[in-house]
Point group: C2
Chain length 173, copies 2
């Protein structure tokens, strides 16, 4: 089944998160070359009321982790938001990807018309699984992954769209 | 069928593009209030080698239009990239949404394992339909929609995540 709830979530998160890990490698190399404290990059943001880079990466991970867990009917594990280095953020990404791989694809596929209840600010949101994936988890996930990438582009790190789309199953002809 | 190629594409594009149209309304109001030429906002970019706002909106529209058309087995219409005002960009969004609504959902659903060939820079890319949607069209679409939003946040327009996610089918409980 090439198109399924599982295929539209787990490999998408894995590929984009692993690409983000590669983007963070380029940020680390940029900081070294420019003799910048990497923590300066981690604290950068595009607007005063937007998240800094560290938080963008944490939230991108959490959207994938929490979204996929809820679709699979599993309580999402809580990760402490205590990363202060690029290496630690890369570990969080790796930990998130390992967790995603542990989820039961059949349970995710069975969730398309199941009601999903999830925390939403001070209250809760409710959507059927398919809508939750299409209209909440994926847009939020991509929002924070793109914001992380855009902060680094804005900071001058040499990145291209190929870094954002690294690892996609494409055949160039 | 709550989860399908059609449901994972057409309403997603519609909702996000209509939300982007609302974001552009806020940009217009901001320009008026601050006595800024709206064209200044349209020319803003997050990095010298990233697209300006106008191009981000055009490309977000085109990712939706071209992606959905190819999945439906239809030649995507070409839109001239000649917008110079916010009103014209909103028209382009409206035209894109109208085109998306005209596509045959059954053809899109039948494309999951069909080979899709599409222009990719100077050459071509090839992916099966499900992969094309999950790993090319959606990430590219969200990338440019988020970049457009982020440019305006960066410019000082008062926007929140709710503007980005406006119109999603969520029940707040």
């Amino acid at each position: 089944m090439p198109f399924s709830m599982t295929n539209a979530s787990i490999p998408v998160f894995e590929i984009v998160l692993n690409a983000l890990s590669g983007v963070l490698d380029k940020a680390e190399a940029f900081a070294t070359a420019k003799k910048i404290e990497p923590s300066v990059l981690l604290g950068m943001r595009l607007a005063p009321d937007m998240f800094a880079l560290t938080r963008q990466v944490q939230v991108a991970c959490d959207q994938a982790k929490n979204g996929a867990a809820r679709l699979a009917g599993v309580e999402p594990p809580k990760y402490e938001d205590n990363e202060t280095t690029i290496a630690q953020l890369k570990e969080r990404i790796a930990k998130t990807v390992a967790f995603l791989k542990s989820l039961d694809g059949k349970a995710i596929d069975a969730s398309a018309d199941k009601e999903i209840t999830f925390p939403l600010g001070p209250s809760k949101g409710q959507m059927i699984g398919a809508d939750y994936l299409n209209h909440f988890v994926l847009p939020n996930f991509y929002f924070h992954a793109t914001a992380a990438y855009a902060i680094l582009r804005h900071a001058g790190v040499e990145l291209g769209k190929r870094d954002f789309l690294a690892g996609i199953p494409i055949k160039r002809i």
